[in-house]
Subunit: 331 residues, 2 copies
């Protein structure tokens, strides 16, 4: 690749499994298990954890214990503990529960915002201003996540101008950063590269997070394209949890340990302890009671070698250590 | 991305499902089903089909009908029908059966060649010269596939110099092209980019195929990196069939329809009919009797939209067509 990847600086891995992963799980996950997992993640080199979301418990029953989870977790000073909020009421509850950061969500797509948030995007954006006023008083940073930023399952392609117009609004109103979310896995690498390059050209060092789903197998390719274009913050979910309601059987969020593995073998620094993440992902499989989409827990790391068959070892001893092949002009 | 991808020319998709996919299947696949699938693939815009391999029927029982398959298939003039061969005996059988091209395999790794081919690499390379002598007389091109070119599950990293030394030997002896095969999914994008760039610098327009496995989720990221570096020929398998004996449950070859989908949405021309490939992949699932790793047959194409919920449609009619968001300086 001609452009050197963002390899001199560190890449930041932001874990969303207890929010974006667990919100899709059909079975209740006990509060104590959520707290234990977040505490384990806090000691794994993750830079931000999206702990839960403050939404209607009817809409997302599995996250109805958001407050209890925030109250129960250990706080590691190097980790930001964020909460997803859809409105002012959620923001108030998140601040009261002790969230370090609020992650406000609006969809680029009008249709998706109505389906997901039950309000028009104009109403969500008005609510964002209210949340920013509140968070200013409470001294809590607010990140804006633009869902369906790379495509909507109802509307299809979303205009980049609309996404950037939302971004401009949020920044001018005081948001601390922006996340471009590929909510249902519709992004492709060229599109990602264009978006990241435009963001950096327009907003410089303003924090930008890329949130990819692997729904169509493109997760790591999109992470690669974003890295090449200068992105340094990525949302990922342990085990690749977090399916899509429109794609039964398809994979979920990009998988934390698969992303870290790719970066590790490319010598890109994340600060994340891969062995520990793999062990947490195995525990996660037991916790949710089903297979998870991540590949590394099935295949092992590329550096996890296998002993050769016994007869091969005997042959190897006979022919000696691997040498170079015979030269092209030998006879 | 700063380097424009190889987007002006066409990308060539080479189907390996009936060889690399079927060789790993536990159940016998009837000869007539193999023939029917190859005939369907021949009309889907695929440029080359690796029909079968001429190896010991004890080693790979599922491909023991290689000759019958070659004799039964329809020949579409735009498609090259190739056969994998490990030695001179296999090459003779492949030529007798009417293969258009021989794909000779040697591993970069001494240990892997012993485990896979039961002979040292020096013996395989000597056999390659015999095969090239035979194929010269028979006027059949020979492609050299270098297995474990990006890493060996027994030995780990393979020296690029060893891979390029094998390549030089093969080219000087008259091989028509080379495939770098990531046999057990150990390659990463930077490594792929380096290999493709070095190949093009050293061998110019000599045909180079990249053969990736998605064992660790990196398949499409590696295809992307290869594309960016100028590669134009890729081996893929319908449904992503073709597991790895060391990684039960892990994914197989990069999935044909997932690769074509990625290229389609990036407007990279392949000539492959994606809708037809998706339909063939669904038939494949029924044929092999189990789920396949491909994502597109589960998630649909990114362009396959969903109707919004009825209440959302009502709300959309009330608020009118999607407009731009309120400007940043509005109050």
């Amino acid at each position: 690749m001609s452009r050197p990847m963002a390899m001199s600086g560190r890449i930041f891995i932001q874990e969303v499994v207890t929010r974006d992963g667990f919100q899709n799980e059909p079975e209740w996950i006990p509060t104590s298990d959520k707290i234990a997992l977040i505490n384990d993640l806090s000691h794994s080199g993750i830079s931000k954890i999206e702990v839960s979301s403050f939404v209607s418990p009817r809409a997302i029953p599995n996250l109805r214990d958001a407050r209890e989870v925030f109250e129960g977790i250990e706080r590691v000073p190097t980790v930001i503990y964020s909460a997803l909020v859809p409105n002012l009421r959620g923001a108030e509850a998140a601040i009261a529960a002790g969230a370090d950061e609020l992650n406000f969500v609006v969809s680029a797509s009008e249709t998706h915002n109505l389906a997901n948030m039950r309000v028009p995007t104009a109403r969500s954006l008005a609510e964002l201003r209210n949340v920013l006023a509140l968070s200013g008083t409470a001294r809590k940073p607010v990140n804006l996540t633009i869902a369906t930023a790379f495509g909507c399952p109802f509307e299809g392609d979303q205009s980049p101008d609309r996404v950037f117009s939302m971004t401009e609004s949020a920044m001018s109103w005081g948001a601390a950063g922006v996340t471009f979310a590929d909510t249902t896995g519709m992004a492709h690498p060229l599109q990602v590269a264009r978006s990241v390059e435009r963001f950096i050209a327009q907003f410089g060092r303003t924090p930008l997070t890329l949130h990819f789903h692997n729904t169509r197998g493109l997760g790591l390719a999109n992470v690669l394209a974003a890295l090449q274009s200068g992105a340094v913050q990525f949302d990922t979910a342990l085990g690749g949890l977090g399916g899509c309601p429109f794609a039964p059987g398809a994979t979920g969020n990009v998988c934390s340990e698969d992303v870290v593995h790719m970066l590790d073998i490319m010598a890109v620094e994340t600060g994340v302890d891969l062995a520990r993440m793999i062990s947490l992902s195995r525990k996660l499989t037991a916790l949710v009671g089903h297979d998870v989409p991540g590949q590394i827990i099935k295949a092992g790391r590329a550096c996890d070698l296998h002993p050769p068959p016994v007869d091969v070892r005997d042959s190897l001893m006979r022919i000696g250590p691997p040498g170079s092949v015979q030269p092209a002009n030998s006879n």
